[in-house]
Symmetry: D2
Subunit: 261 residues, 4 copies
């Protein structure tokens, strides 16, 4: 028979221990939400530098405007206000390959190109050329490069890199992403920015996270963002209007007496 | 035609503004995750006292051991590892009336008994008696009172109240919950603790939040906790074992040649 | 230690048995989807009459136009096309109190007024008056009565009642709903139809189902409807357009240089 | 501005039309659930042969025992019984690559090998060799081939092929899957069955469905199965027991005074 085992937490009648620390005495009131998230994920207390960088990358993922996830969560809440949790869940379901996949994709090619035991003198330019060539060959966009709105530069990217730099976390993964960016512009002949999710993917590698969990950063951050939007929906709803306009327009070409647009 | 309007964020080709602040310049690297969550929810920057109390109540909701939500998220991830977001979503779906409902229930009866315009000399003992009488009459448990494991005292509760007190947020809602607790013990003749979700419900009222959004605190916090468990599942899986044992035992009484237990 | 036991199905290396029947030999190719759904839910093979009525009420719940659930599922699919299952799941999350709750609510008050051991001469008019009075006192709408669009009559209702009647399932629950309808119109002085979900709630009681599971009829039916809409979204997408219009309008009052509407 | 348009249904004050048919007059009471599902998906009324085959493949996907999806749905329901819809949604979230992905994968390689305009004399043996070689090269299992329990033959497969054959839907896709099966056994030197989801994938191609929607068949069918399990959970619960055993065992190695196993 296999094992059923978790090393994260345990409790008894009078104790609660998380990651080896007394939760009431050593965590509650002593760690902020970002730092405790790091502890929950890694089992270690972040250094001040890790705290600065990790809080920044998670904060960067909380609020991205009225995205499909936001519309989905607000609409679901309006239909089932007794289940706020299901409205957030519905919103999170859309954080797939076309959304947070970019962060994961960048973290993946960076960490596969530079595994933890990569030689100190790895040729970043050669690696960047290989990465760009591979994506161009399969005619896929390069995760982390380009942005639909911030075409001339994602304003979060230089800030994220500066925060990483100030805290000693702008190493080879950040450099490799910058080489990928340069090579992608050279090969395509187009100007494109490094986007924020690309920067976060690189910084996640710097912090030692596996690319497999980076999508989770987007999920946990966006859960916070969605709760904010649901709170606004309770005060200033938009979902009924989105619904009625969409419903009306979508079938107007079928309804008798209506001239199709 | 109705309005479709959100006041949370906007962006242009070179700017991103959240809650009226330049996201790259005023938020990124300058606010931790808990403080930015407050800004996302309320539109204001928390005071140091609000930050201390808010970070503590959200931290208190992140990790509650191997709950049904955790088992659900880990199992879902094992079946659909390409959709980490859907695994978290599945886990969140169970944060209903029997789980986070307790926090919401406590915040609701406290805020309904003491609306924002309640007179300064409201009789807390009388209100507590009414609240307890109402739940006892409908034979419902009183949200925020009692705990299945921490029978002689939830170790988080005194810490949460102390943090609230130190920061000036242990006012009438906390006092009313304590009176409800005393009255519940008197009326039932049983010793029961104030549980952590009850304390958080009261403190949420102190911070000015509507009871309608308190469930969201549990949802956003638990999303973080679930990502931690999914990360552990990638390294040290339990869900296959839970599945195979459950499947085997559940139908063993039906299978021929097996003596039913 | 408690029991972990399910009586629905079992399998061995060469057999699969569902509800006591050999799945390959007695079910596959011999029962249609509606009849097998009945077997899955009740453990019995439906009579032809039960089959007619049950298929009709589930069919009635599959497709209700471009509802919020549909918009949610289509948007989620567009963001995470690799997770069609999560798109359907997101759509189902909104089938709450404001949607399928009406069917459940009607089934509940009908079955509570006429429990299985109710006397044969129960006074349906008196029961109807009590039901209507109770909802009017709490200023709640009466589940099953009224419709936002089909104000002068829901065209599905007479058909559903006729199908129930033809098959011997238009008994006291249907009659009681009709009395509730008459009394609701009398008491309010307004003309309102019995809506389709109300009729389905009553017919579910006739078929012997608990009100607690009626919401599940809506959920399983709508899952089918949502797959149809997702298929259309792959061929003729609308979700990108709904998103971009909503995003643009929602923040236009905040963006500089834009005159707020 | 783009279009927002759906061709599935429309309604007015007194009419409801689905796929061009009067819903009350032409569908309700005249089509069973499986046939109406076909209409919802394809826009056409199925022939008797299509009805037989389609009902069989959907029925085959409803109930697969106590799967992870079932455990997830039952646990979620126990935590949030007021949101049956979210419990089904949570269960569906796990129908990913490791579950229904097999049906989709088989439909995909079959339809890509034999596109609709494939020549009548396409060499099925050569195609089968290419398919098997490709999967073996990437060391991936071949979707549709092999079964963890039914090692010597999935008892549903011959029945599904027989139903397809009897109704004129056992054409080149079924034949190609059978050649893939033969080649897979030859190349690996192992005996393995064609599993039911593989057979369904092939039959879906015969019926003209795109591989992209086959996963949806599993999703809509399993929604029905999950409602059946939730109904059983209301009567004969298992989820509390699964939870308490899992929670206890998972942290027993951490708790003081407990000798780790």
């Amino acid at each position: 028979m296999g094992k059923i085992r978790s090393d994260i937490a345990w409790s008894t009648v009078d104790r609660i221990v998380v990651r080896g620390k007394s939760f009431p005495d050593e965590i509650l009131g002593k760690m902020n939400l970002g730092d405790f998230s790091w502890l929950q994920l890694t089992g270690t207390v972040p250094t001040p530098q890790q705290s600065n960088v990790f809080n920044a990358i998670i904060v960067a993922l909380v609020e991205h405007g009225v995205t499909p996830s936001v519309i989905v969560a607000r609409m679901t809440y309006a239909c089932a206000p007794e289940s706020l949790q299901a409205a957030v869940a519905a919103g999170l379901c859309g954080l797939g390959s076309n959304v947070v996949g970019s962060m994961e994709g960048a973290a993946r090619y960076l960490s596969e190109a530079l595994p933890k035991d990569a030689p100190a003198d790895a040729d970043l330019d050669a690696l960047a050329q290989q990465i760009v060539a591979r994506f161009r060959q399969s005619k896929s966009p390069i995760p982390g490069i380009g942005h639909a709105i911030h075409k001339s530069g994602d304003p979060r990217t230089p800030r994220l890199f500066a925060i990483a730099e100030e805290n000693g976390y702008a190493g080879r993964y950040v450099q490799l992403l910058q080489r990928v960016h340069a090579e992608a512009q050279r090969a395509s002949g187009k100007s494109m920015p490094i986007n924020a999710t690309g920067a976060i993917g690189a910084i996640s590698c710097e912090l030692g996270f596996s690319w497999k969990i980076t999508r989770g950063f987007g999920v946990m951050a966006r859960a916070i963002g969605l709760v904010g939007h649901i709170l606004e929906e309770t005060e200033n709803p938009m979902s009924g209007e989105v619904w009625s306009r969409t419903e009306h327009e979508s079938s107007s070409h079928l309804r008798p007496g209506v001239v199709a647009s």
